[in-house]
Subunit: 257 residues, 2 copies
């Protein structure tokens, strides 16, 4: 399998997986300068706030994205497997689930829940990228929609770096406030194994395999451009008009404020 | 009309127009650092190339956006007026129209037409912002879709600065290669007068007037974030993977290359 993906021939399942893993190795947002800044302790309190506030919109949109995927699955087994993603984010009961755990993080950073949930203060770059992801999963083929979730193959590593680095460097986060990430690696492993098996089985032509790779590239862009937008607005300090201004909309003072 | 837009009362037509003009004065992309860099002659040849290549996607998407608006207009008079926008961009015959004139600009900057038209090299930030604009005009109310075009109220000024500045500072552009902009101010004046009259007439509640203002704010973000993306990728030189690399995909050398 030398140079998988470089000819026009159908790839074996192993070759397709190798191309997908290479795509992540070259494009996943663990390579972004913001991630490095964050896990190495160079972020200010306000930069972590901005990241958590904006990323809420991504977290809160995931079940909507997954519901759009569900509407397109004709197989009950597939739907049952995919439904777990919605359960993970929305929880099995009130006060449970990934979105709730993300709100515990924004709570701990001093934001009022109403403000976070309103999403009025997020960056347009966040909104455009996340909405592009939802629309991609509505408009492209089901195969591409499933493939676009494959960034989860790479999330356990970035989560490990992020949690370890943030706990070591920032006194305003704790294991409790980062609880969102405790549950994710196991869920992401289960979900990405399903998605990887799915795309291997359902991409039956080289053209479909190329669409699978392109879907993963697209999703890497969705994640990458969100961090670009954070950097311009809150590190270069050139925010578009109307977005969250550090020091505002906080219900309580965070520890390091 | 002191502090128009600050109370909850219905605004007069003049007050609404004042709020819209203030929105443009505070948020239009003539205030972006890229515009200043461009018209003051500080852009490199490659930065102008990147801007023209990316902005092609915006230009090429405008008739699609306008067709989406047309599908929602029940009044033949309105459709006839709005149709002119599509005619302006697509032309009345082959080789005519705003998109063709934009391609003359990218021709003059050395790009092959096939590459420009493929849009494979544009920034994800460009694509996400432009697609957000198209989807806004499909999904929001017709009133909001019309209102989102109101950035044209402010385009004659930015075009004047851009063309004067670029002709003065860059030997790789000429009146001929900037022909796109020659036609635009008159068209934009006609179109924005229609849209302004339309939103004044059709926004009959304060809530609708607020949606009109929000639509213009949204559109300012669409334009602004495109320049943010250009800056990060081609001035800070931190492009996302897979986008156009300066020096590649040029069919001929531009004068200043």
């Amino acid at each position: 399998m030398s140079q998988p993906g470089k000819s026009d021939a159908l790839m074996s399942h192993d070759e397709l997986e190798a191309v997908l893993r290479l795509t992540g190795a070259e494009r996943y947002h663990n390579l972004h300068r913001f991630h490095k800044r964050q896990y190495s302790g160079q972020c200010t309190y306000e930069e972590v706030q901005a990241w958590a506030l904006n990323r809420y919109y991504y977290q809160a949109s995931i079940p909507i994205k997954d519901a759009a995927v569900l509407t397109r699955m004709n197989d009950a087994d597939d739907r049952r497997a995919w439904r777990k993603r919605i359960e993970d984010h929305d929880g099995l009961k009130e006060g449970d689930g990934g979105i709730e755990r993300w709100l515990k993080l924004t709570d701990s950073l001093g934001f009022s829940r109403d403000y976070v949930k309103s999403t009025v203060g997020i960056l347009p770059g966040t909104r455009f990228a996340v909405d592009a992801y939802i629309n991609f999963c509505k408009e492209r083929t089901l195969l591409e929609a499933v493939a676009s979730s494959l960034t989860e193959l790479f999330s356990p590593t970035i989560i490990g770096e992020r949690v370890t680095g943030m706990l070591a460097h920032y006194d305003f986060v704790s294991k409790e406030t980062l609880a969102y990430f405790t549950a994710r690696p196991e869920q992401a492993k289960r979900d990405s194994e399903f998605a990887l098996a799915y795309v291997k089985e359902h991409a039956k032509t080289r053209e479909q395999q190329d669409l699978v790779v392109a879907a993963l590239e697209f999703k890497c862009h969705v994640l990458w451009t969100q961090l670009d937008a954070i950097w311009t607005a809150y590190i270069d300090k050139l925010p578009p008009a109307g977005v969250w201004v550090p020091g505002t909309h906080v219900a309580q003072q965070g520890k390091a404020a």
